[in-house]
């Protein structure tokens, strides 16, 4: 246990991190006041945002921190593929069942691994 984890340093870091995060949100509000939702710049920013969100998601799945990293990469990918298959198996999207299948697969793996 690091000494730096205790004391006022932690609260200082928390405050700074909260301010930094809120500043990003506020900057978005400020900038959004000058942008029209029909404009080309809006379409471009939307595409950039989706790409960032996609990169973040893939990072969480392929290069996770902590417990998820102990699951073999191939199994993680396989579970995602199965969930995606359930999701697109019908024209009306099936978020609930797809999410449930993926979560149960991971739970099942965890149970099998410990026994």
């Amino acid at each position: 246990m690091n000494v730096a984890v205790q004391g006022w340093g932690v609260w200082l870091a928390l405050s700074a991190a909260c301010l930094g995060t809120y500043a990003c949100r506020a900057l978005g509000v400020k900038l959004s006041g000058h942008i029209d939702s029909e404009s080309e710049i809006f379409r471009w920013v939307a595409a950039v945002t989706y790409a960032m969100v996609a990169a973040l998601t893939v990072r969480m799945l392929l290069m996770p921190l902590g417990l998820l990293a102990t699951v073999p990469m191939l199994l993680r990918i396989l579970m995602c593929v199965v969930s995606l298959a359930v999701m697109v198996s019908r024209p009306t999207r099936r978020m609930g069942p797809a999410l449930l299948i993926g979560t149960l697969l991971m739970l099942g793996y965890g149970v099998v691994r410990t026994t």
Partner: protein, 244 residues
């Protein structure tokens, strides 16, 4: 769209609540329980861990903060790194809020913007085109409020149950979050965004290996711009659909 989807703002707000209670709240709750457990195992204070979820309300940034605190980084370095991971909020807000009614685009948004997370954003981006502009803010608040309110209880719960919950359960909880975002990608319509997502999934890990800190921004700019250009030059039909 001819008939408005909601009769008034109140109906839109409750529809938002209705849509939130289900996958979005579950996903956020799971993510925050996972974060609380992480805070406990790393030896942080329960208050501090819970407040982080309430005040920051941005899971990737929260995880980065904990990791950096453990490694003993200075608070300035932490603030910088966390802000960098939160840079996505700038573009998320810029893509979401211009769709609101002109009357709603006022100072109040500086308050409501705190409710924005990836969950509420992806749901709103999907639903906004199907409702009148004047109902969108109410719907967004209905959607975001339960997600935000569940964050702190989820974190505190995770903090206190960490240790006696079997690993298998924690594993499933940690997995729900990224899985949800992966699944929402199948619901994205415009081709520019679809291409951006596809490229983002491929380029993201590559850029991460190259330079972790700037990888999200770099991936976004490269993949997003390619998606936009390809769509504009080759895919988009000449007259653009008019949104109601």
């Amino acid at each position: 769209m001819n008939a408005p989807r909601f009769t008034n703002r109140r109906a839109a707000f409750w529809a938002g609540i209705h849509d939130a209670v289900g996958a979005p709240v579950l996903v956020l709750f799971a993510g925050m329980v996972g974060f609380g457990a992480m805070g406990r195992t790393h030896g942080f204070d329960a208050w501090m861990t819970g407040l982080t979820s309430l005040l920051m309300f941005a899971l990737p940034g929260q995880v980065v903060m904990l990791e950096m605190l453990i490694s003993g980084s200075s608070f300035l370095a932490i603030a910088f790194a966390v802000s960098l991971t939160s840079a996505r909020f700038v573009t998320m807000v810029v893509t979401l809020f211009p769709q609101l009614h002109r009357r709603d685009r006022n100072r109040g948004l500086y308050l409501w913007v705190h409710l924005l997370a990836m969950t509420a954003w992806s749901m709103s981006m999907r639903e906004f085109p199907h409702m009148a502009a004047k109902h969108r803010l109410s719907y967004f608040i209905g959607l975001g409020l339960p997600c935000w309110l569940i964050a702190m209880p989820g974190t505190v719960l995770g903090y206190f149950v960490a240790g006696w919950v079997p690993d298998a359960v924690t594993l499933a909880l940690v997995f729900i979050n990224p899985l949800f975002f992966l699944l929402t990608f199948t619901e994205v319509r415009p081709w520019a965004n679809r291409i951006a997502i596809g490229l983002g999934c491929v380029l993201g890990p590559l850029f991460y290996v190259w330079d972790a800190d700037s990888s999200l921004l770099a991936t976004g700019l490269v993949a997003g711009t390619i998606g936009y250009v390809v769509d504009r030059r080759w895919l988009r039909p000449a007259p653009v659909e008019v949104q109601p």
